[in-house]
């Protein structure tokens, strides 16, 4: 639950001199800086107009930011509005903001005027002078706001440090004469850590602290002491208290010091109570008598006692506390909180919002179904224990306490030296065959073996059991594989099926290779790749005799011989197959000019050796693509006065 009013976000307000530096250097940074008399006059004018306009806009923007960020007194909660009035003087505040607003308008009009004059500037000098005059006048306007700016900066710093009081939440306000123990009480109920000193007006401003009660967050406001005099004579410090009392719907704790150690008589304190009573109207009020360690209501003079009792009318309750002895603090706090809470609930019930919630709330109460009694189930052990407690018997258990029935771990801890000292006994509840073993020390490793590996006591037994089962299963023949029994017919079918599968696989692979989408080998390359073996194999598969084809192919690779020396059969075949060759035979150029296989291998090897280093270092070789010159001189030299460089 955070406060709605956060004044911490207001940007710092620079002093007048810094303000000027900020704006002018921004102009210098963000507008062009180079202009020459040789430029066209329109360009020169535009250059200076831009400067003037930019400066004016920057001033405008900065002032606007200040004007919007500072809270408008009419728009904040009356508590804050009044507090600001007390602390900073409403008139002064409004005046400062008003002057800034006027300055903003003045600067705007200066900017407008000079831009208009610049339109008639006929030389660079004149334009520059006009710009100079314009900026100078803006600066003068700003310099006159020196006091307003420094005042607003102070206000900002102070505002940012105001305690964040939420005016609408549950609040306790502590008030009373100076030095009656308000801050001491505050320190007791919250963690605010307010300064407490034995002199009057130690607390000079509002302090806020937070506490929890009934799972709700409460804020406690410590106020400066109030003296009993008319409102007009009150100073700023007192007025802060009055503001808090007047505007916050809270529970009021009015402190009186019966011992009169504070330096004010009981009579004074009671008369103050009566004079500021109008501020307590409709608020739960507590008359708190502090410092009861020194003096209580019974010790004071009867007439003073009478006065105090007279002050307690309806709506006002009486409490006693001593911050020194810490007595009565919680009671006072609880009473104040309860009364405020009750009042807030009543207010909510009266309001019109509640009906929207109430008609959605339904408390269902089931009716009786039949006459059967269905009581809550209470375990017998619990019943027995209850019985024992009622009887007051210490019980038969050895861990029983006379108050709680039994010794708890918590009690043991207290006995054993409290938290941090006491070690919880984890072994106590081990379930072992013999209680004597509970605290036995078990070594982790014995004879180089991990004890945990041998922890199973009946491992032998289990192993024997397993083996027996295995034997039994083996005897039953679970693991015997069935006899091979395949006749001739089945074998043949299987063989065929295997071959069909193989063939299918090959077809699939070939079709994959011939897929149109893949990069294909050219016909030439294909011809080079296919061998005579492939061909003869193919013929064999088709059931033809490949011998003749083999012969022909062999001859093709051989040196040409004399025609007389050839086998006549071959000669015949050749003459019959003299039909034109579809494709000329391609020779592998990499092996051309090499004498034999050995030299080919040697060449291959030396080639790969020479390329090895290059490949290892991933160097660009001479075969890699390279751009020799990225910016060829002939394409980039020369003037380009007009037109493009397409002509090059």
């Amino acid at each position: 639950m955070s406060s709605i009013y956060n004044f911490k976000k207001i940007a710092p307000v620079p002093e007048a001199g810094d303000f000027l530096d900020i704006v002018l250097s921004k102009t210098q940074r963000k507008t062009p800086t180079v202009v020459h008399p040789g430029y066209k006059i329109t360009r020169i004018r535009q250059f200076y107009m831009r400067k003037v306009k930019f400066t004016q806009e920057t001033f405008d923007e900065k002032l606007h930011q200040i004007l919007t960020e500072f809270p408008v007194l009419d728009n904040v909660h009356p508590f804050y509005a009044d507090l600001m009035n007390v602390l900073y003087d409403k008139d002064h505040y409004k005046l400062a903001l008003g002057q800034l607003n006027t300055a903003k308008h003045l600067i705007d009009s200066v900017g407008k005027d000079y831009v208009r004059l610049l339109k008639f500037g006929d030389s660079l000098y004149r334009c520059k002078q006009l710009k100079r005059a314009a900026l100078g006048r803006m600066a003068t306007v700003m310099k006159r706001q020196k006091d307003s700016l420094s005042y607003l900066e102070q206000v900002r710093q102070h505002l940012a440090r105001l305690p964040s009081i939420d005016p609408n939440t549950r609040t306790l306000i502590v008030c009373g004469y100076p030095n009656v123990g308000k801050s001491s009480f505050m320190n007791k109920v919250t963690r605010a850590d307010v300064d407490v000193q034995p002199y009057a007006f130690t607390t000079k401003s509002l302090f806020v602290g937070h506490m929890d009660y009934k799972y709700l967050r409460w804020q406690v406001i410590d106020t400066p002491g109030i003296l009993d005099h008319p409102l007009e004579e009150r100073n700023t410090i007192e007025m802060q208290s009055i503001t808090a009392l007047a505007h916050l719907r809270a529970s009021v704790l009015f402190f009186i010091d019966l011992s009169e150690q504070c330096g004010y008589t009981i009579q004074d304190q009671i008369s103050l109570f009566h004079s500021i009573k109008p501020l307590f109207a409709n608020k739960p009020t507590l008359l708190v008598m502090s410092k009861t360690d020194v003096c209580t209501i019974d010790n004071v003079r009867p007439e003073e006692r009478q006065m105090v009792e007279d002050a307690v009318t309806d709506g006002v309750s009486l409490c006693q506390l001593s911050s020194y002895h810490e007595t009565g603090i919680t009671e006072t706090r609880d009473l104040a909180c309860d009364r405020l809470l009750q009042q807030r609930v009543e207010m909510k019930l009266k309001g019109n919002k509640i009906s929207g919630v109430l008609n959605r709330i339904n408390v269902a109460q089931p009716g009786r179904r039949d006459t059967v009694e269905r009581p809550a189930h209470i375990p017998e052990a619990v019943l027995r224990r209850r019985q024992q407690q009622q009887n007051g018997a210490a019980g038969d258990g050895d861990d029983d306490d006379e108050t709680m029935g039994r010794m708890l771990e918590r009690d043991l801890e207290v006995e054993g030296g409290g938290a941090g000292v006491y070690n919880v006994d984890l072994k106590k509840r081990y379930m072992l065959a013999s209680d004597e073993w509970k605290y036995d020390v078990i070594p982790e490793i014995i004879d180089g073996k991990n004890v945990a590996d041998f922890i199973d006591p009946d491992i032998e037994e289990k192993l024997a059991e397993l083996e027996r089962e295995e034997e039994k299963l083996a005897a039953e023949g679970l693991y015997d594989s069935p006899e091979e029994s395949m006749d001739e017919e089945e074998e043949r079918i299987r063989d065929t099926a295997r071959r069909i599968r193989q063939r299918k696989q090959i077809i699939a692979q070939t079709s994959h290779i011939n897929d149109v989408n893949r990069a294909k080998l050219t016909t030439k390359a294909k011809a080079a790749v296919s061998t005579t073996e492939d061909f003869s194999e193919h013929l064999q598969r088709l059931g033809l005799n490949p011998s003749l084809a083999d012969e022909t192919a062999q001859r093709a690779g051989r040196k040409r011989g004399r025609s007389e020396s050839r086998d006549p059969a071959v000669k015949m075949a050749r003459s019959s197959s003299l039909a034109a060759r579809a494709v000329s035979v391609i020779r592998d150029r990499s092996v051309m000019g090499l004498k034999d296989e050995r030299s080919r291998v040697a060449t291959e090897k030396s080639k790969s050796m020479s390329m090895r280093r290059m490949n290892l270092m991933a160097r660009a070789g001479e075969a890699d693509r390279a751009i020799q010159s990225k910016k060829p001189k002939h394409l980039f030299t020369g003037k380009r006065s007009i037109g493009s460089n397409d002509r090059r």
Partner: protein, 260 residues
Amino acid sequence: MPQNEYIEESIRRHGRRMDHAERKRKREARQVHKDAEFAQKVHGLKAKLYNKKRHSEKIQMKKTLKMHDEKNAKQKTDDAVPEGAVPAYLLDREGQQRAKVLSNMLKQKRKEKAGKWNVPLPKVRGIAEDEMFKVVKTGKSKSKAWKRMVTKPTFVGDGFTRKPPKYERFIRPMALRYKKANVTHPELKATFQLPIIGVKKNPQSPMYTQLGVLTKGTIIEVNVAELGLVTTGGKVLWGKYAQITNNPENDGCINALLLV
């Protein structure tokens, strides 16, 4: 102390560190060196601003020093002879006078000398017509060039109506028309913003006077009713002459000196 002033609260509770005073003194002593170093290192606009600041500080310091010197310096005077019987050991003492009086006298003399001329700005820069007027081309094909636009600030009377624009030779733009001048009274040393009544004389040319052009050195008549000046006869003055002392076209305002 308000709740959220953490720093002050901490100082109040725990005090400052032991060597706080020493550190502070040292930091202050170091500051001058740091400033000097910064002044040498800084450049650009920042340098300009910074040097200006330092310069003005220095001048202020020198002035203060000088003022103290002036106060303390003692000079001989002949006339201030001690009165009555003087002991022998004081006989050769001469009267003394503070230097301050002398410097005041010098100032007075200078002022009198300055008052010799009857017009504050006796000489003016000549302004050629082509600087004063801009040629406005007219006609359907912009071939005629007989129109002129006045590019200097002007004063036009209250009841001024333009001639029919078609035949108007001299255009005096609205943006450059002025009604008020910042007039300084040389004896009162005070400046007032006064309405202009008319242009008495523009030293450049009688034509400019006619057109009401306001340039440096122009004599204008201003309404001094609000100053409450009276003649020796007891009549209330309301119109007085003043001379323009700045270049209105460069400054965007008219500053004038009242001729008394």
